[in-house]
Symmetry: C2
């Protein structure tokens, strides 16, 4: 028996909550898939993500500005925009739209041994 | 240097082409990510997918009917609907909407050794 179908755009957190909401959609293997819903949050000043796994990420709704270390300008992302962030490529979320949920799908890939 | 941002909803194939369009977005590792665009295609009569890798799949636009072997009814999928199809769970696409592109994102996971 397969699990039932679920919906990526259902059951969104309300605007104005203090934190992003992160849900595992698939876990416990060489790939982890997360839904992240941002409602205006950004990375704290001076904070950079530095992750041990490669991350393929797509923004499916909303808007965000992503800063990648070494790039001269932040990337403005809209629905459908995707990129691969290799392990240890430092990056931060400078801004997400406070007026509408920004829905990310992140696929984290364990490095090959 | 990271590759540039690309867009999942851009550069869609025209309606009326004979085949689905399949593009690798990420390949060559324990996970393969594909964008599949269906424009009315379905699996041939009697054909069932029987895949060696687990597949997590989400429909992002359009509409489709997915049949899973052993289930009494096909699953009608709309935007955001996602499910995990374990390796060797036989399934087929019974129908996709011919009037609008159906955009799938498929994440194929190599089985753990």
């Amino acid at each position: 028996m397969l699990p039932p179908t679920a919906n990526l755009f259902a059951d969104l957190p309300p605007l104005g909550r203090p934190d992003e909401e992160v849900r595992d959609l698939l876990a416990g293997r060489a790939v982890r898939i997360e839904r992240i819903v941002s409602t205006g949050q950004a990375s704290p000043p001076g904070f950079w993500y530095d992750q041990p796994w490669d991350e393929w990420v797509v923004l499916l709704a909303g808007a965000a500005r992503l800063r990648v270390a070494g790039e001269t300008e932040a990337r403005l992302l809209g629905p459908g925009d995707h990129l691969l962030i290799p392990a240890h490529a430092r990056h931060r979320v400078e801004w997400t739209d406070p007026e509408t949920p920004s829905i990310w799908l992140a696929v984290h890939c364990r490095p090959e041994p």
